[in-house]
Subunit: 228 residues, 2 copies
DNA sequence: CGACTCCATGACAATATCGTCACAAATATG
DNA sequence: CATATTTGTGACGATATTGTCATGGAGTCG
């Protein structure tokens, strides 16, 4: 079976050396020299792991990670950041923003390979059960079913996606911006207020079967799923 | 929700420092000073993540990893190795043998915390909450929650940001100028006195649940969060 | 002890934000 | 094709939040 690894690195020498090492180890290397090239590649292939250089000619590696993590399809892919800087703050920023690992250049190819294998070992056999629950709310994402207190609830598609997002982030505050990106997608132009209306509809749909106030309003920011 | 982290480290100073940092960030730290102590602990609790020192008095950290990975119940737990040696061969051996990550001592606590959160994000499927605490005050920024003495406190957005700034700089004197820049932003035109009013409101909000005087006035300059 | 500066506090008006409804357009359903 | 359902948006009243001011009190200094 093929294991595809995407290398995003503008320095040709390093890029080719990494590709060579990867092939030596039996992986398939996909190459990109810039952030936009990487995004183009990602429209075609869904790699098993991505190695990203911090400093790219057109965008920061962090921005690229943001884009990937916001894409519903590929957001689960492990990402290893690579950088010439060794400042601790960069490392921490990278890890906080969604990178899974962080290496400082000049990186040892052997260590990079070892870390790649460690991450792949994890993500293989990664089976997400499509059941999500929070208290009395049960969702079977693959069957597109929602139950509250064992009673089936009928939700429109948007309401369903909205509830799914909440169930994936229980007790977390979700900004309207964030909700828009994840439920409607990044390139759609929808008013902020629209979120409110759909929250209202979701609340109405959940209300009959259970106690109210599952979705709380955080004034000035957004909403969160929480028990009061 | 509790997130248990097992620290396996024979050096007491390092072990306690790590435990302290973990608690500060809202994790529950379990401690073990040797391999056998670790295995005993693992019979009782199933931690969400394990930090293992390479050199233990009774067994090598690698042997401990082997034991863990052979146990059907806990073998999935993420493991971060920590070592005084920086030899590349050790790193690679550790990663090949089942560690998920590898840090060289003296490790920065901030980097360790960032990596811990990155691994938990993977294994738990969502962001771990990032907590700030100072004495009886607890703030979970991602959930937008503040508790004083375990009791929830309702804060407006400005009050929340203000308290967050204080919690990020405990015991530090913050000038009004500085507060304005960080809470209101650099390009907003707000009177200095406005800070005073919001300090007042924040004090009022915190007061009912706990002893007063957390936020002290420093005449002529600003305020600071400090215990008297 | 004055004289002065600086801060705490309450009141208030302006503003921002939210919940809700109604409606029209888009889409699905039969 | 006719009829539901879903979806996005504007409007508007209710409510929370916010910035500013006025006032009195506390702190500081010679």
């Amino acid at each position: 079976m093929h294991t595809n690894i995407l290398i995003v690195e503008d320095d040709m020498a390093i890029r080719e050396m990494m590709a060579f090492s990867l092939k030596r180890e039996g992986f398939d290397a996909i190459k990109a020299a810039s952030g936009h090239e990487a995004l183009e590649q990602l429209n075609q292939v869904h790699p098993d792991l991505i190695v990203v250089d911090w400093g790219l000619p057109d965008m920061s590696g962090i921005d690229l990670i943001d884009s990937i993590r916001r894409d519903e399809v590929i957001k689960e892919v492990p990402i290893i950041m690579l950088t010439a800087r060794s400042e601790e703050q960069d490392k921490i920023k990278g890890l906080e923003r969604g990178a899974d690992d962080y290496l400082t250049k000049p990186a040892s190819m052997l260590e990079l390979m070892a870390r790649i294998r460690a991450h792949l070992r994890r993500s293989k056999g990664f089976e997400t059960s499509h059941k999500l629950t929070y208290q009395d709310i049960e969702m079977d994402a693959s069957a597109h079913e929602v139950k509250v207190n064992e009673l089936a609830v009928n939700l429109s598609l948007t309401e369903f996606k909205l509830l799914k997002l909440f169930l994936q982030n229980p007790n977390k505050l979700l900004a309207r911006e964030h909700i828009l990106n994840h439920v409607w997608g990044r390139n759609t132009f929808v008013e902020d207020r629209t979120v409110d209306v759909h929250i209202l509809r979701l609340r109405k749909a959940l209300k009959p079967h259970a106690r109210d106030k599952w979705i709380q309003t955080v004034r000035g920011i957004g909403y969160k799923l929480a028990s009061m």
